[in-house]
Structures are given as C-alpha cells and as structure tokens.
Symmetry: C2
Subunit: 439 residues, 2 copies
C-alpha cells in the first residue's frame, strides 16, 4: 500500500461542481491543494486514503464551486453606494457622480473604497475582479492587503482629472503601476481605455501597439447605451465597434463591458475575433441602458463573463445576484424559459469570466493544475429547502450570505462566514469617515 | 405633567419609513403598540416620556417599515422549490409540475408546504400573503400556526383534482373553509377562480353573484402569457380581460395576478374599475412570460401590489428580491432610470399590495389605528455601507437576511433574526421527508 501524500489542504464537500466538464455535479468529493494549486479531485473515501493534510475542511451541507470572477467593476465606487439613484443617466453622471468624484477621489479614497469592495466581494465568494478606476496603485495595495486576485485595468482617457492630465499621462502612470507590482502573484494588468467616446483614435493606436509590445490585455466599455452609438455615428461616421475594429483593437486580448446594443453582424464579429464580453445585467437595468442580446451572443459562440459594475450603479457587488439576473433576463428577453440554464450561468460567473480576462488557464474551474480559487456555499438554511438540484439553487435560490468559506490560491480568505483579512470594525470606521466627508 | 400611558410594546428605531405619507423618512422615531394596534408614532424622546411599555425594543441601526405584503403566491409549492427549472413553460407544467401535483398534493402536503412557506416569508419580513392553492383548510391551519396574516383565495376550476370534482365542488368546499375560519383575526378569504382559461362563463357568473352576496373579494390569474390571450381569442372570440368585463368581474374587489400583456385600452379599463394588479416580476422572467407594463399602469393610476408567485417558479418567497426586480425591470423596460424609484417600490410591497387585497384600512403603512404588522431591517452589515439613503438601500442593497424583527398584529414573530413560531429542526425534517417521497 502506498503511503499517503502530504498536502496543505483537503476540502471535503457534499457536492463539488467543477464547471469543467460542463454540467457535472460530483457528490461526496474532495479537493486536494498543495502550494496553492489543485492537485487532485476525487471521492472523499479515496482522498482520505491517499492524502494527509495540514488543514482538513469538512463541508457536509455545502457545494464547492470555483471562486467567482467579477469581470467588470469599479471597486472604489463602493464609497458611492446608493449616493444617487433613480435619476436619468446623464443627470446621475453630471450632477451626482462626476462632481463628487472630481472633488473627492484621491489615493486614499481609492484604497479605502477598494478595501470595502474587496471585503464585500470575498465574503460573497468573488475571488477575482477586473477593476477599472483612477489611482490603480492604491487599488493594488487594497487587493494585495485583501489577498484577492485582481486584474487592474489601467485607466486611459483624454480629459484631465486629479489623477492624470491627458492620455499620455494616464498611460505613463498606469505603466509605472504595472512595473511596480509586476511580481505580485495575484495581480495582473490590462490597458484600460475608458470608452470609445472618451478616448481618441491616436490614443487607441498607441494602446494597440503597447498591448502587443507588452503582451497585455485591453479592457474597455463598449456599446453601453444607444446614445453612445448615435454620438459615434455623428462624430466618427461609424459605430464604436467598427471604429475599434478599424483601429485594430479586436482580438482575444480584448474584453468589453456591456455590449448592450449590437447588430447581428456585430455579434458575429465579436465571436470571430474572440473578444470577451462582460455582461452587467443589474447595472444595465438600473441605468436603463437596455438588455444585452445574451442568448444570441451565446448562440454565436461569444465568450461572456459577468460583472457587477460599480456599487454606484448596482448597488451591490454580488455575483449571485448577477447570475440570477443574467438567467432571468435572458429568459424573458428571448421568451424562452430554457434560455441560459443554471449550469451555464454558473459557468459565466466562473470559467467564462476567467476566459474573458485571459486567465482560464489558471482559474475558473476545479481542475488539477489550476490555482485553488474556491468558494463553498452552505445549503443548510431552511429557506433553501428542499433541494432537488444544487446548481439550480446556486442560481435561483441562494444569497451571497450562504457563502461560508473562500480560498484564493489555496489560502483561506473567508472561514465560517468570517472574513480573515479585515476586521469589520475597521471597515465600518473607514466607511463612516468617508460618508461624513462626502455628505 | 401627565403620567405615562401603559402600552404593550414600544419600538424605537434609527429610521421609520411609514410609507404613508409617501416619501417620508423619520429619524429616531418610536412606534407605540397596544392591543395589536399602532396607537402612536412619535420621536423617541417624546415616546419615552409619554409611554411605559411592557416590552421595549431598541433598534439602533435599523429601519422599521410596514410588514411586507406578498399579494400572490402558492405557498404549498415551496415543496417543489427547484423541482424543475429551465424548461419551456408547457413542458414545465405538463411534464413536471402537474403530474407531481396530481400524485402528491394532499392536505398534509399543503399543511407542510405552507408551514415552510410561512416560515420563509415571516423570516423575510412578509407579514401577509394572498395564497391560492388546493386544500385551503390545511393552508389556513399552517398560517394560523405561524401567526401570519393571510388572504386564502379559495380555488375554483372546472377540471377535477384529488381536492375537488368540479367547479361546484370547489366552491362548496371553499365556502365551508371560509365558514370554519370566519372568526380568525388574521385570516380572510377571497374567491379564487384559477384563470379565464380554466373557468367557464357560468362558474364566473356564479362567483360574481357569490362575491356580491358575501361581500368577498375575488382573485384570479390574468393575461400571464401571450398564448392565454390567443387561446381566448380562438375559443371566446375575445381577450380574457374583455370576457371578465362582460361577465361583471371587474371592480375594486378583484385582484389579478400577472397582467403581463395589456393594450393601452386594457390599462385604462383596469384603472377605471379599480382592479388591483399583482406584479410578479421574477416569476414572469423565469417562465419567460414577458414584462408587465408597470410604468404605464402606474401612470394610468392602477393599484399595483407585488407577489412572489410560488417557489416552483421563482424559486424564493422573497419580496425584497421582487421590489428590486420590479424597479430594475421598470427602468430597463421604459428606458428611464427614474422609473419606479425606491420609495414607490416599497409602497408597492406594502400599502399598494394591501390595497389590492382590500386590506389597506387595516395594514400596509405605519399609521395610528392600523394593526401593528411591522418589519425591522438591520443596516449594520458592512456590505450595506455606506448608507446615504435608507430607502434606496431597502430596495437596491439589502437582502431578506437583514430582516431582524417582525411583528404581526403587534405580536413578535421574528426576534433578532430567529423565527419564534417554528423550530428549524422540525422544518428541516418536514422538508426532508417530502423531498424523499417526491424524488
């Protein structure tokens, strides 16, 4: 008989949903973790024979899934949660959000807001976020402190802010941040031209060149509102997506947030070029932007991840809500109750989100060799009974408060519903202090 | 100085949102309760001088709102939560739900399923539900045991089930249940013709006569799907709403669930006749029925309450979710971010729901003289920080797990997040036993 192998952590769960292979639900399975990676996935009884673990976790009424990937957010805007609601989009931006940002956004604002966001996301099972905001250096500090994986999308726009004077200045500052954190195991970077309406052709060209030179992905907002498209037609004589195509942006290294308004030809183009689309259903509803044609994009083979957008337009960083919303919205928009079934919604929130960020070789599913970003959900709550199908419950029934344990690269970040990296009192004080200064 | 008056309960809260007057948020207010009724609403410091209370409750980080009204549900279907999902509507009904109901629905099924539902609803702040299901006697037992307010809508349809043989039999059995429980302070009754497609003209005529004779409201499903309307055009040569109008159903005593597909003329008719509409946004999305024209109905002055529908098509009995969903859906459907603002969504879930059931003289707002159906939500959770506007948070941020305390007619039903009338282990056993027999 072979002696057992030593591992760091052995997690046993009532159900494991690895996401890949698609549709699979494993009962009474265990995940073995060593050096931050998944080294085995096997039945509990076999795992107990084969491995001895430094830490042994037994999750008897839980589903273990890959950590969720929030593929589009503006983390620091957590400080503006519910700051202004129920306003027409332009009034919301020009009278509430932008003036407040102009006055208050600073390195401290971003560090503190991102701390709150990382705490909220981790406790809700999100192990990786793609963030886009000013002062990414401060965001990097907060994500690093939280022990959370993040893709920091380095903002570029033409107009000046307290953070940077012009597109060159944004790029220079962003690339310096990228250099500073290049060795961090959980942080990676994307170039983040804000949107076609806020970035010039020449800046986009520079970004294309840099992304090739540095092998760096690109993230932008695209076709969020009908007005954005009409403005582009007036100003550039073409729709924003066509403009990005001509400028050479489209490819597997590009992820675009929103993509609410698309022609059939545009959907085909996104699929052909392997552009990742990030669907933000709650934000698109709350800002009345429209309903993205998710069913058509899925049929065409577009990779679709999910995002919460910022807390100012959602108002929560909750990917369980987005999964449910994506599924419900796809059903009602396509008039097909079988559109976007539960397994597929979970895949969007994990593996497809990771793919849209170019991280699917490292995270997004529970497979041997991948980094151990994991999330356990307790189904013990009486409000979740009965349970005929745990994956249906993950999408249609549970709340983020059911998340009990979270690991990032094998390290525990939430244990029995408690966040390990931050303490609640400190977070409350941070929030209260900013609220007082913003009011 | 006047000596203090004795009351049963004095509840002090950081915020009180009485719903009527519309838009009001009171800070540091207290509610005084005697004999199950609200006898005063006043600032905390005045309340402490004016009243001595047997029970004194201090809610320092909470919002106190009227208990939520779930104006359309099939409570016992909680036992079929997630039993079948992601199926086209007719396959879902004919292959999954109806055969299971035929085989399993019994007085015990209804009593146990309604217990689970009442527990879920109370813990989530719902103090009153309009229920429609077979064996209403068993549902009445469960609601009575739970100490929850309910309108039991007595089902009537033409086709036979284990419960009843034909429309006359349904009516006879239903009226007997009404007689049996007529003295119960929390239970009231409606006649419940299931839907225009399952009830004949002559049964509707009999129901109209009975409702007038007994002064009893009527509740039915209406215009849930486009197919229902097309079938009616084929079979009756008119749309279902026109048929109900000709049969004399339309009036303030009628509440209709769904109303997804409506012409402008139909919206005007619903407003003119003071018909209550119950909007079930999650169910309408999940079954791909469509998006009800809520903004247009509100503009026309239609009274709109909110419902969860049954757990088989939602899959939760969570009116916070329905509030958020109603608001988000109204915004995206109307392309106006200012559609259905937070205060209005809260009003739908409380006072307007009560009005649709004809109960707005007794419940639905925190006003002197009304019965003390109340719900307290804790905003202490760090995921809810910062909080610039508590009513925005109620709709866009909080989950039902934030509900800390619930009273029905002045009696505590949930205290510090714990349900008082049921114990969790018993509920788990009930659920497990039914799950085993249904699988």
């Amino acid at each position: 008989m072979t002696p057992p192998t030593a591992v760091d952590t052995l997690i046993e769960a009532r159900w494991v949903v690895p996401v890949e292979p698609a549709g699979m639900v494993l009962e009474h399975y265990a995940v073995a973790i060593r050096d931050g990676r998944i080294i085995d996935l096997l039945p509990i009884d076999q795992a107990r024979q084969r491995y001895t673990a430094t830490e042994h976790v037994s999750l008897e009424e839980h589903v273990l899934v890959p950590g969720l990937v929030n593929a589009h957010t503006h983390a620091a805007m957590t400080l503006l949660r519910g700051f202004a609601d129920d306003l027409p989009l332009m009034a919301w931006l020009t009278e509430a959000i932008w003036p407040t940002e102009r006055e208050h956004v600073s390195p401290d604002f971003v560090r503190d807001g991102t701390r709150l966001a990382a705490a909220e996301m981790l406790r809700g099972g999100i192990t990786c976020a793609q963030d886009m905001y000013f002062y990414p250096d401060s965001a990097a500090e907060a994500f690093s402190e939280a022990g959370m994986r993040a893709v920091l999308s380095l903002p570029v726009m033409e107009f000046p802010t307290r953070y940077a004077a012009d597109a060159d200045d944004y790029l220079r500052k962003g690339l310096a941040v990228r250099d500073r954190w290049s060795d961090h195991p959980l942080l990676s970077f994307a170039l983040g031209p804000h949107a076609p309406y806020s970035v010039s052709d020449s800046s986009f060209e520079r970004i294309v060149a840099l992304s090739q030179e540095l092998d760096c992905p690109v993230h932008t907002h695209l076709h969020e509102t009908q007005a954005e498209i009409e403005d582009s037609l007036r100003q550039h004589g073409m729709r924003p997506l066509e403009r990005l195509e001509r400028l050479g942006l489209l490819g597997p290294g590009l992820s675009v947030a929103h993509a609410v308004h698309l022609t059939d030809g545009e959907i085909r183009l996104l699929a052909e070029r392997n552009v990742g689309v990030i669907h933000n259903p709650t934000s698109n509803m709350k800002l009345a932007s429209g309903i993205a044609p998710i069913t058509q994009m899925l049929d065409a083979g577009v990779t679709i991840g999910l995002g919460t957008d910022g807390a100012a337009s959602n108002n929560r960083l909750d990917l369980w809500q987005e999964m449910r919303q994506a599924s419900l919205l796809a059903k009602v928009a396509s008039r097909r109750a079988d559109a976007l079934p539960a397994h597929r919604a979970l895949r969007m929130a994990t593996l497809d989100g990771a793919r849209s960020l170019g991280l699917d070789d490292r995270i997004g599913s529970i497979e041997t060799g991948k980094e151990a970003d994991l999330c356990a959900i307790s189904l013990a709550n009486i409000d979740f009974q009965p349970c005929y199908n745990p994956v249906s419950h993950l999408v249609y029934v549970v709340d983020r408060h059911a998340v009990s344990d979270v690991w990032v690269a094998g390290k525990p970040r939430v244990r029995s519903h408690s966040l390990l990296q931050f303490n609640n009192i400190a977070l409350q004080q941070i929030s209260r202090s900013w609220q007082n200064s913003l009011c």
